[in-house]
């Protein structure tokens, strides 16, 4: 196959082929960047949370009966709920939490290593009951779980402690369990177990008694998603309580339908809502999910449009050169060589387009990085983009090219 004639023939119809090249270049720039953005978002969404999401239900108790305004009653209801939940068939473990991981709602405070001079760092935390490790399915890798002794005795007398009262009192001491990431944040040498952390005033001192390998806090898409501090305490209030219930394998569906009735049976004076943790996570991720769908959809549409463009231009090119094809055939070219001719032509044009496109890709990525905080693109994404368009272009050019091979040699002799 001689490349020379192909090139020279292309030069005679420059405009048309530059069009394909420009379209290919633009399409490459767009879909490579879309791929980059989709991958970044998916990576955020696919990060393991450390929690057994597929088997966990979240249960909300929202009281409306006045009886709940009495702390003693509310506490008894909370204790009773946990007992009832743990007694239900199919429940592996249940615990109370003041906020739910992955939900987008939660609390954070500031902590630093005890005695250090640095400013406190953000410490997302959960107030939890006993059994939270089992209920979330997180992996405890150092130290121990909470025992009954870790929980402060309820003190109902301090109904309206003032800030001044608290300042004058003894420092608050607590045993806490933290995630490995938080432990390393506090004590980078990796020996956090047994060490203490404090707040800025030094009136809250926590001792790390256990380390979890990984757990996401309430903000799973954030960069600090893996920082968690667990405080043993009373995660309920007069306004209600939240429980995480981990089901035995396969029992999630059944529990989903029976928990509400069971808890209403225990106490009718409240609303019970049940969600799967997977649903909660889905809601938190829904915006990000929507964006990836849109980017994906646009990319597919774009490849379609460009392919149609290539089909059109190649078709037109073939029609324009019917006489030339006929002449070649008359001079002995086989059908295959005609096909080959057009395909090589297509590859050259697409190739030029792709080369220009790579430059455009980095250019577009730069603009997006500046204006829309998009992450820098990397070679694998560009490579995938190049391959996809090359194949799509080839597929698009195939049909018109094959049609070109059907031109009869006799057309060379006709004048019409």
């Amino acid at each position: 196959m001689q490349i020379g004639p192909i090139f020279r023939a292309m030069f005679r119809h420059k405009g048309r082929f530059w069009l394909i090249a420009v379209e290919v270049a633009l399409t490459l720039a767009i879909i490579s960047n879309c791929l980059n953005m989709v991958l970044v978002e998916r990576q955020k969404m696919n990060r393991p949370t450390g929690i057994d999401e597929d088997n966990i239900l979240v249960v909300y108790s929202e009281p409306f009966d006045k009886a709940f305004e009495d702390k003693i009653y509310a506490r008894a209801s909370y204790d009773n709920d946990l007992r009832a939940l743990r007694g239900m068939p199919g429940v592996h473990a249940a615990a109370g939490m003041h906020a739910i991981p992955l939900s987008g709602g939660g609390s954070a405070t500031g902590r630093r290593p005890r005695g250090s001079e640095i400013d406190t760092l953000s410490a997302p935390y959960f107030i939890v009951s006993e059994g939270v490790i089992a209920a979330l399915g997180v992996e405890l890798v150092e130290g121990r779980d909470f025992t009954a002794a870790d929980f402060p005795t309820p003190d109902d007398d301090e109904a309206s402690a003032t800030a001044e009262d608290e300042a004058a009192a003894e420092p608050d001491l607590s045993n806490v369990i933290v995630t490995r990431e938080f432990a390393e944040l506090m004590y980078p040498d990796g020996d956090a177990l047994g060490k203490t952390i404090e707040n800025r005033n030094g009136d809250s001192i926590d001792t790390i008694i256990g380390v979890i390998e990984r757990m996401h806090n309430s903000w799973p898409l954030a960069s600090f998603a893996e920082r968690v501090v667990l405080y043993p305490g009373e995660p309920w209030s007069e306004r209600g309580a939240r429980y995480v219930v981990r089901a035995e394998p396969g029992m999630l569906g059944e529990l989903y339908t029976t928990i509400e009735d069971e808890l209403i049976r225990q106490d009718e004076g409240r609303l019970i809502r049940v969600e799967t943790l997977a649903e909660v996570k889905g809601d938190t991720y829904s915006g990000t999910h929507a964006v990836t769908k849109m980017l994906g959809g646009l990319s597919v549409l774009l490849i379609l449009v460009t392919s149609l463009g290539i089909i059109g231009l190649t078709s037109f090119s073939v029609t324009q050169r019917t006489r030339e094809i006929g002449t070649r055939r008359a001079l002995g070219a086989t059908r295959t060589s005609i096909l080959g001719y057009f395909l090589v032509e297509n590859w050259i044009v697409t190739g030029v387009g792709l080369v220009v496109g790579v430059g455009l890709t980095y250019g577009l990525n730069f603009v997006l990085a500046q204006w829309a905080e998009v992450q820098r693109i990397e070679i694998p994404q560009v490579a995938v983009g190049v391959l996809t368009i090359w194949l799509a272009g080839l597929a698009a050019a195939l049909a018109p090219a094959i049609r070109g091979t059907t031109v009869q040699p006799v057309t060379a002799t006709r004048n019409v």
Binding site: L19, L271, L301, G309
Partner: protein
């Protein structure tokens, strides 16, 4: 002459209907995609209350920790909410035309029908001025009067959705509803109201749904129910509702309406005087840093617009560009196929410029048709977006978007048509005449 040229354009399109449909669809698709994301961008970045966004101001006071700024990354920023003490302090002013503090919470609603279980609903605790200040549209009744703020009167305003749920959408003004353990009288029902973004409360869900119930602020104290929105504090508050009210915890949003520049100056002076007075009492140990930002400034400071809106807009406009480039080839083929006819016209005296303009006109006619098709597609596209985001955002096409669509369509048609029109006007008439 223009009429004649338009007619020629129309005849040309009609001669090859399939090709014309293809070309119009090409532009239509590009415009449809572009307009979907242009509108989305416009909606999330736009002014939610354009007719008075420069007269509504969000109040910020820097009551924060003397040792550390509110935001380490932006140390000159005051906190984004205020304390209860400060709310009481500054609401004594009579300078603003309207003023209102507010927060959100959840309360249990007991439906009027027997046997239907109660449910929890989002409630905005606010002052009566909320409604005229934000020009909230009412279907029935109105907001409550100032006296009800003080009482507090047992009155509520219902949103459209909850009114449908509880009263079948009828005029429920005057009816009572049991919330928590008290009876409240409905004084107003809203039209469906979805300001996008939900600018009055950027602390919680700035693109989230509007609350369904509005209740006088002081009921929070009566019922000892605090906020379920964002709270922050730099100092331990003690426990219990009363302690919250006395604390330095920020949990309240404060808006005022100031109609004249002088009013604004006066109010700023009032705020500064108030804070200075508080400093003497030992509070406000940070430097004086009171802010009055109007709606646009506040939205910008809060960085409300999501980054995705920008990247999607960019991609969508580039998509339109590719669609236009796509059409260049098709138009080239179409125009050159009619070279013989053009050859005759040129031989009969038509100038190159006439031929060029004629073909551009044809392109723009295609453009207009494509633009209209694109708008129809964009309606569908926005519907899809609406569904993806659970109908929480108010994606709506308005007249501005119509003009943008038209402008984009004419531009794309121009991009697609300039080169083919140029090519066809340069043909040599003689060659094509001989070819007959």
């Amino acid at each position: 002459m223009l009429v004649y040229q338009l007619r020629l354009a129309w005849l040309s399109l009609r001669r090859n209907p399939i090709l014309s449909v293809l070309i119009v669809s090409g532009i239509g698709l590009g415009i449809g995609v572009a307009m979907t994301f242009v509108t989305a961008f416009y909606v999330v970045s736009g002014d939610p209350i354009p007719h008075k966004s420069d007269r509504l101001f969000y109040v910020q006071l820097d009551s924060w920790d003397p040792q550390r700024p509110w935001d380490d990354d932006r140390p000159s920023e005051p906190p984004s909410q205020i304390t209860y003490l400060d709310m009481v302090g500054i609401m004594r002013s009579d300078i603003p035309t309207y003023q209102g503090a507010m927060h959100k919470t959840y309360l249990t609603v007991h439906p009027p029908e027997e046997g239907v279980r109660p449910f929890r609903e989002t409630v905005r605790m606010c002052f009566g001025d909320f409604f005229p200040m934000f020009d909230v549209p009412f279907r029935y009744g109105s907001g409550w009067r100032d006296e009800e703020d003080d009482g507090p009167g047992a009155v509520i305003v219902l949103g459209d959705a909850v009114n449908r749920k509880l009263f079948g959408g009828e005029n429920s003004v005057g009816r009572t509803l049991r919330i928590e353990d008290r009876e409240f009288r409905v004084v107003g029902v809203l039209e469906r109201w979805r300001p996008t973004p939900k600018f009055y409360d950027t602390q919680n869900d700035e693109f989230g749904p509007v609350e369904e119930i509005f209740m006088p602020f002081r009921w929070g104290q009566e019922m000892q129910i605090g906020t379920s929105g964002n709270t922050s504090s730099w100092r331990s508050a003690g426990s219990g509702y009363e302690a919250l009210l006395r604390s330095e915890t920020v949990w309240i949003q404060m808006w005022v309406q100031l109609d004249t520049a002088e009013q604004k100056r006066e109010y700023q002076a009032f705020l500064d005087a108030y804070v200075t007075e508080q400093k003497a009492a030992g509070r406000f140990q940070r430097p004086l840093n009171n802010r009055l930002r109007d709606v646009t400034e506040w939205l910008e400071a809060e960085e409300v617009m999501p980054d995705e809106a920008r990247s999607l807009l960019t991609i969508a406009l580039l998509f339109l560009l590719v669609c236009s480039v796509n059409l260049i080839g098709i138009l080239l083929g179409k125009f050159l196929a009619r070279a013989p006819e053009i050859g005759v016209r040129r031989a009969l005296g038509a100038s190159r410029r006439w031929v060029f303009v004629q073909h551009l006109i044809e392109c723009e006619v295609i453009g207009v048709a494509g633009g209209l098709l694109g708008l129809v597609l964009a309606v569908g596209g926005l519907e899809l977006l609406d569904r993806l985001y659970d109908s929480q955002l108010n994606f709506r096409l308005d007249m501005n978007m119509f003009w943008v669509a038209l402008a984009l369509a004419l531009l794309s048609a121009m991009i697609a048509g300039v080169y083919p029109a140029w090519r066809i006007c340069r043909i040599v008439p003689g060659y094509y005449l001989k070819l007959q």
